[in-house]
Amino acid sequence: MSTHRTQLLLVLLFTLSLPARAVRVGEPAPDFTASDSNGQSHTLSAYRGKFVVLEWHNRDCPYTRKQYESGNMEKLQQKWTMRGVEWFTVISSAPGKQGYVTAAQENAYVLEVHAAPSAVLLDPEGKLGRLYQAKTTPHMFIIDPNDILIYNGAIDDKPTTDLSDIAAAHNYVDAALEAALAGRPVEVSVTRPYGCSVKYPD
């Protein structure tokens, strides 16, 4: 096949194939139904009218541990769920991989660290993770009351595992929620998520 023809095919491939699967800020967030660690089912579209946070989690990842051992993530969960935000922690680690937990293990952990999400969604097959193209733990998404994705990216601007970096970090999720709940536009809506890779099934 000629180079020219290859190129035409390529252009077609790239222009047609991308939009269907993209998870983009400013566009509707993909709907999903997933089970939590108490066996309850949650459907995103049922939360229309509320802000929803998705937080990808792996308790053994050093970047996640930085947020939890400092108490930072638990504080954010507490603050925003008290203000009516639905906060879903999502675990997409496959069985046998780092961060995989049973429902009972997860419930014990939530109590132990005083985590305060609305629910923890268990996604051992990685379906929700792949739907949102979740890359790292943590990886944060915020969805507005009209189901529009308004934030996609990192928890903060200090991509390290060092607990001492939290004090000086600018927390993108906190800032985005402050703005959005006050009816202001989100200033920084896309950042590079940082952390461990999500431990999807092979």
């Binding site: 035409l8 095919l9 790239f14 222009t15 991308l18 790292t136 595992t161 431990k199 099934p201």
Partner: protein, 293 residues
């Protein structure tokens, strides 16, 4: 107020590896074996010459199946970071990053190094030095990953005599620095041209050298411009080569400039920076309409 129980853990504990070793002398200070990585501080010469550049290098020896990261780590991870402690008047340059490898795991792609890699840093030495010996220290933080990731931290020091003579450095050490220099991306040679086009869902980067090149791979320096895990498609041209890379799904605005490293299969690597020509996307789509196929 409820305090998370784990908050009492001291920040130091999160570092699974922490080393403080006595200073090495001669041209090499090696940190003892650490889980998954050994780190050494090397000098290209075994003395410091006033007014010259002292080439230092951090040698990472990484266990099989583990890796560390490039300056743009890709979808996950974090590049090594250094904090130099140098004598007054010494000035460390930025780390020099060899061309990385593409490291895929599941739906994610990272950019980094496996095996052995030397990250060099050129240090300016002041013209006046009264000391007979100088102490070079560096604190390094890095992340080493396989399926899981482990943060590591080490402090290494090296004592070097001040001198003007030019004794030959240990041969294996000189060879390491030579090899590291070979693996650094170079500026484009005179006469070579690089251009970039926005194709709508992808960027096309074209390298014109005057001769046909089989394959090239692009490593972006900026985050969130390119979808790291989407396969790139490289096509030889009579006078060079081109590669089509998928745009990041997260782009909110057009990209004006693509900066990165082009790695030619079996033929070196080059720093490139190309203004992105917009507008070709409409033409591209028209040309690609089913009727023309």
């Amino acid at each position: 107020m409820r305090r998370p129980k784990l908050a009492a853990i001291s920040p130091g504990l999160i570092w699974l590896l922490f080393f403080c070793v006595p200073p090495g002398s001669g041209a090499e200070a090696l940190v003892q074996s650490a889980p998954h990585t050994k780190l050494g501080l090397l000098s290209e010469t075994d003395f410091v010459e006033p007014g010259q550049t002292l080439n230092l290098g951090l040698l990472f020896e990484i266990e099989p199946h583990w890796h560390i990261y490039w300056i743009n780590p890709g979808d996950s991870g974090e590049p090594p970071r250094v904090k130099w402690a140098l004598p007054p008047g010494f000035r460390a340059g930025d780390l020099e990053w060899p061309a990385p490898a593409r490291l895929a795991s599941g739906p994610l792609t990272d950019y980094g190094y496996q095996g052995r890699v030397l990250l060099m840093s050129p240090v300016r030495v002041p013209h006046q030095l009264s000391a007979l010996e100088v102490m070079i220290s560096v604190q390094v933080q890095w992340l080493v990953c396989s399926d899981i990731c482990i943060p590591a931290k080490a402090s290494i020091s090296l004592e070097l005599p001040v001198g003007h003579a030019a004794p030959s450095p240990p041969e294996d050490q000189a060879a390491l620095f030579r090899a590291a220099r070979e693996s650094l991306p170079r500026p484009l040679p005179p006469g070579w041209r690089v251009s970039a086009d926005d194709l709508g869902g992808a960027f096309r980067i074209r390298l014109v050298t005057g001769a046909k090149i089989q394959r090239v791979s692009f490593f972006p320096l900026e985050f969130n411009q390119v979808e790291n895990s989407k396969p790139e498609i490289s096509t030889p041209l009579p006078n060079g080569v081109e590669v089509v890379v998928s745009k990041s799904d997260q782009l909110l605005q057009p990209v004006d400039n693509l900066r990165g490293v082009l790695v030619i299969d079996g033929g070196g690597s080059y720093h490139v920076s190309a203004a992105v020509r917009q507008g070709i996307s409409r033409e591209g789509r028209e040309r690609a309409s089913p009727a023309t196929l």
